[in-house]
Symmetry: C2
Subunit: 425 residues, 2 copies
């Protein structure tokens, strides 16, 4: 049953925005002066600053440090209603979105539901190899990592203790590299004095990558620098190594090697949100939707797809699934809607690439700003300031800054809580 | 199979301490210079500052703000091993504790496993009326409270919306009063501008108490002041009202009234840990163990029971289940063990009561310091400074102070994250 308050009989056009990530939130904000009613739907109650999610997973930050309630962020924007609900289906012909708790009729639809993990058809692996996409994922990974050290301390058998002290991260993109580097620091610097039986310094961190280099989206020189740095930190990097099996006792690789471990983290595969397939448009192999130059669907100009879910090429290359891409697309879609309301022709979307960056560990990051390449300490400070700057909300920034300063000075991590999901395991 | 490293053949006497709350942690610390080996067992990896747990439940603080890993707190105390494990049974005749992942033989045993909730034989109520004892409880309550406002915003039917905006807290001891007062502030001040359909200011907060007054352990004048203050904040306080039924649609009271609500919080019944019953000693009706004047068991002087689990009377009154009681008992048991090792006679335990305090809301608390009674702003500052002072760890104190200052100035709450346990509900 559609909601009366959002029916099409109301005076202002109704824009439904699905997903409160960077794309959906930036589209919503850019519509603040437009003569429209906006409904923003997300299944979580918060916007998540995903670039720092790995720090929640590795107990450096607490969840609330990097997330803010969507309705709090948008409280002053009177033309927006925020709904915490889950999208069940989209009917582009009827211009209706079905939710778990109702339905929404729209005049314009912005689909910004992003991407999730894919285990490349091996859905059984998902149980053992935890992905990192949501806050729940991050807390699950934190539980597994800290729980593994606790289990090692309890374990009398040296063989099984070594399994608990072995960690395998699959995929050496930015997330995999961040997880591996941070885990190495935790094992070498944070935990050693606190254990009596297991020695965290004996922990082995394996980073498994199917391609020929780490951080494949970066220039080769930065990949090479990162690889050297990771190895110096004690991370065992396996390149051109495809995973053939994941179970509760370990990981098998295509060269026949087997790594015995109780903790596998998944940073390898990203698949577009399944909602893309419901739009009746052409999708690429990863499920991303091919859109027109203004980011609308060719057959349905009132429907837009943005962020990780959109397949947009520029100069022959697919735009990367990054926060800046999603933000720029969100802002663009708002401009298109405003132009259409004034019966003007919208301009095509143009992505402005300001550069990319990735962090490996303490004092170690790589930054690529179109020719200007930074590595090491300078890159790390650049990374730190950029992330603090973009983090939403003054208070979060302050707390994160204090948390980071504290961790930097003491090597400690502030969120080492094992909660939920059965503490015993 | 007992662990070799903790067998009785080792040179130093082995003290097993069960529970890392105030009692167990203080006993452990007080044994730091004693010629013993200590094993501290807790099913969580952290010590919890329970007096502030209600603030995590009401989204004012994040979990890591009020909890620190036990092994981090004790990292410098070389005679301690920390095990995260769950106690399955205690055999006082064999001097052995069975754990989920092994066993411990002891020379001295300190049982400090505290108390949990009891629903007074109505175990079915537990599903609807969430208690507040552990970090997981706090996060579950946070999920329910924030989720109820989200559900109200989605709800088209005014009757059902009112049910989502009704909250019932059962039990008007310190925890119940804190929850009710904070909920009233959230509804009146934190959320109003952020909702478009549901009006948080129309929320109704019911505090249900079977006895004749709130904060029954306080002097009558302070109870009366607190009652007036709660009512001024909009809390509907029901005194001499016993709950006869709790289900998923509401609460029934013994006067025949029924409150329709989707959110019931339980702050009424506390039962001692079931491990007390395994010690072969006399227990009171709540399951607390009667102990000798030095807190040991009459039939087993090598076994001590402390904290909420111990039944100790002084001047004819049962000692209260508070943090100071548990800390003092923990320190006392360490003194007794040290005395016994030197073949000296231990002194009986004497509780020093420094006073009690409770908070109701912003600028509103009550403090009873033996004759000196404070209410209102002065009491609130006293409460605030005392809690900051006793909070473990410099860094936590600093972050909590900033969080509190921020909340005080903005009325905002910093941890408004709905995570885990099925976000849709």
């Amino acid at each position: 049953m559609p909601r009366a308050s959002t029916g099409r009989t109301a005076p202002l056009p109704h824009v439904a925005i699905l997903g409160g990530g960077f794309g959906g939130l930036w589209a919503t904000r850019a519509l603040r002066h437009a003569p429209v009613r906006v409904t923003l739907v997300d299944r979580a109650n918060h916007h998540l600053f995903q670039p720092l999610l790995y720090q929640v997973a590795t107990a450096g930050l607490s969840g609330p440090d990097i997330a803010a309630p969507l309705r709090h962020i948008l409280r002053r924007q009177r033309n927006v209603t925020v709904w915490m609900d889950e999208v069940q289906g989209i009917d582009v012909a009827a211009r209706r979105v079905t939710l778990m708790h109702g339905a929404l009729d729209y005049d314009y639809l912005v689909v910004a539901t992003g991407s999730g993990n894919t285990w490349f058809g091996h859905d059984g692996w998902a149980r053992h190899a935890t992905g990192l996409k949501t806050m729940d994922d991050a807390l699950a990974i934190r539980r597994r990592i800290l729980g593994a050290f606790e289990a090692a301390e309890r374990e009398a058998d040296p063989g099984r203790r070594a399994e608990w002290l072995t960690f395998v991260i699959i995929g050496a993109g930015p997330t995999g590299v961040e997880l591996a580097g941070t885990l190495a620091e935790i094992a070498q610097h944070t935990l050693p004095r606190e254990f009596r039986i297991a020695d965290p310094r004996s922990a082995r961190i394996h980073l498994v990558e199917a391609g020929p280099r780490v951080l494949a989206s970066m220039p080769e020189a930065l990949s090479a620098w990162s690889l050297k740095r990771l190895r110096r930190m004690g991370v065992e990097v396996h390149l051109k190594a495809a995973v053939t099996e994941v179970d509760d006792r370990g990981v098998a690789l295509n060269d026949g090697a087997r790594i015995a471990t109780r903790t596998v983290l998944w940073a390898a595969g990203v698949a577009a949100s399944p909602l893309g397939a419901q739009l009746g448009a052409r999708c690429d192999r990863a499920g991303r939707v091919h859109v027109a130059p203004d980011l609308s669907l060719p057959a349905h100009p009132e429907v837009f797809v943005i962020g990780d879910l959109a397949h947009v090429e520029q100069a022959g290359e697919l735009l990367p699934g990054l926060a800046p891409t999603a933000k720029q697309m969100g802002a663009h879609v708002a401009r298109v809607i405003r132009a259409r309301l004034r019966h003007r022709a919208p301009r095509p979307f143009r992505y402005r690439d300001y550069g990319t960056l990735a962090t490996i560990g303490r004092n170690a990051a790589v930054v690529d700003l179109h020719g200007l390449k930074l590595t090491g300490l300078a890159a790390w400070w650049f990374w730190l300031v950029a992330h603090l700057f973009f983090l939403i909300g003054f208070r979060n920034r302050l707390i994160v800054m204090i948390d980071w300063a504290w961790s930097y000075l003491t090597w400690q991590r502030n969120a080492r809580l094992i909660v939920g999901g059965g503490r015993g395991r």
